[in-house]
Amino acid sequence: MRRSAGARRRGPAVAVWVIAAVALGLLVLPLLGILLSAPWPQLPALLVAPETVQALGLSVLTGVISTALCLVLGIPLAVVLARSVSWPVVPRRLLRAAVTIPLVLPPVVGGLALLLLLGRNGVLGRYLALLGVTVPFTTGAVVIAQTFVAMPFLVFAVEGALRGADRRVELAAASLGASPWQVFRTVTVPLVAPGIAAGAVLCFARALGEFGATITFAGSYPGVTRTLPIASYLASQTDLDQSIALALVLLVVSVAVLLGLRDRWLPGVRG
């Protein structure tokens, strides 16, 4: 049987559809699995269990602080990154690679690296220890681990917004008497506010889900460093219903993030 040119133009081959369906199933079916096996009748009780409330509270607290840190540190980094297009090739690529590291590095490796830097015998940690400051296995360590993994989401979202904005208005501001810092505050930041908001949401979602770097660098002390994902993982070894309940909370947050973001801010579709 010969296919006409018209038929070929209709769309991809059947095999492509089938394979795409398998891929989609791989993405969606596990979530369906959670919903189907969720202990719905016991759910209210599980959600108000002290361990759940404690882990949720710690996750929200550290997630909010990490997101705030990412905003304070990441917006200036995004400005520098956007400006680096006029730099020579080597430093420009090095900077971009540095910002991308947490996206490609296994989080456990990131956590180990933080431990080697800030641990009691670490490169910086030994001096902090002299000052009486211990970072690893504290709530502060959770925040640092989350900030480390979440930073690129904020930086790339803001950088994308900066590239899309007409930055010549910064010149207009300077000619009206604004110092470079005033230009940054009153023009640059408001100009990319939608990018900042989207970056902050992605950042918070990533921080909330952080597991590998946190458990390596901060451990799992209830109420101190045991965040939702860690609590959910530990519960999966002993009490599956409890684990599912914790996972559902994380799932709801992720879906909320998906719904709250416009398409163009999601990684991979930014144009």
């Binding site: 010149l171 000619s175 100009l191």
Partner: protein, 240 residues
């Protein structure tokens, strides 16, 4: 070389890539200067150098006895009206006009109050709460001018002030602009390639071709004796 005390004095070399401009001209207060020239002659480069958005390679920019060449844009007190106005899209008309006042340390409310007379003078009172995307071209130009003047600049630069406007409204807006420019006490430079702008807005003309000044004089003097084929064409354009 000491700059004369009054007016704007440009004697500098600026470069953009391999292209160099070497303007030499003086602008007296009350005698707006049109900087004309074919596309690519370096007019906008000169404007950016005067405003401080582009560093000069050498030479001097004097304004009322102050040397500007080494100052950052925010310290020059040189107002700029950009070709496409570059209003702050996230601020209302009132806050756009009040911007320069706020940058000098005024809080939001006093800055808005200080901007009010400017809004009224430029017939913007009814538009105070609008955002730039809600304005017509002529309105946006008035906001840009009010915003520049409210910052109390000592000199004013306008880059192709009519280019972003619809052809039908240009004559009317140009006449209005001429009135506003007459009221401004400092040296004024208008970059344009339009003979109509020169005739209506400027007292003197500097012709810039391939980075260098080829003629300097009043519009009447240029019409009487055009020094280059470009000037001759410009004069003919003005007579049509």
């Amino acid at each position: 070389m000491s700059a004369p005390a009054q007016g704007l004095h440009a004697r500098f070399v600026a470069a953009r890539g391999s292209f160099r401009v070497e303007p030499r001209f003086d602008v007296a207060a009350g005698r707006p200067l049109a900087l004309v020239g074919p596309n690519g002659a370096g007019k906008t480069t000169v404007l950016h150098a005067l405003a401080g958005h582009l560093a000069v390679e050498s030479g001097s920019i004097g304004l009322h006895g102050r040397e500007l060449a080494s100052l950052p844009p925010e310290a020059r007190r040189v107002g700029v009206v950009f070709q496409d106005f570059l209003l702050f899209p996230h601020l209302t008309v009132a806050d756009n006009v009040a911007y320069g006042i706020r940058m000098r340390g005024a809080r939001r409310a006093p800055a808005r109050a200080a901007a009010l007379p400017w809004l009224e003078r430029f017939d913007l009172g009814g538009l105070a709460a609008r955002f730039p995307h809600e304005l017509s071209g002529g309105q946006a130009q008035r906001v840009a001018l009010a915003r520049a003047l409210a910052a109390e600049p000592e000199a004013l630069l306008l880059d192709e002030p009519m280019a972003a406007l619809d052809v039908e409204v240009r004559d009317e807006v140009r006449a209005e602009l001429a009135g506003y420019l007459r009221d401004f006490a400092g040296p004024t430079v208008i970059v344009t390639h339009s003979a109509a702008d020169v005739a209506a807005l400027a007292a003197d003309v500097v012709v810039l071709e391939r980075g260098a000044v080829t003629q300097h004089g009043s519009w009447a003097a240029l019409r009487a004796a055009p020094a280059t084929p470009y000037v001759a064409r410009l004069v003919r354009q003005g007579e049509e």
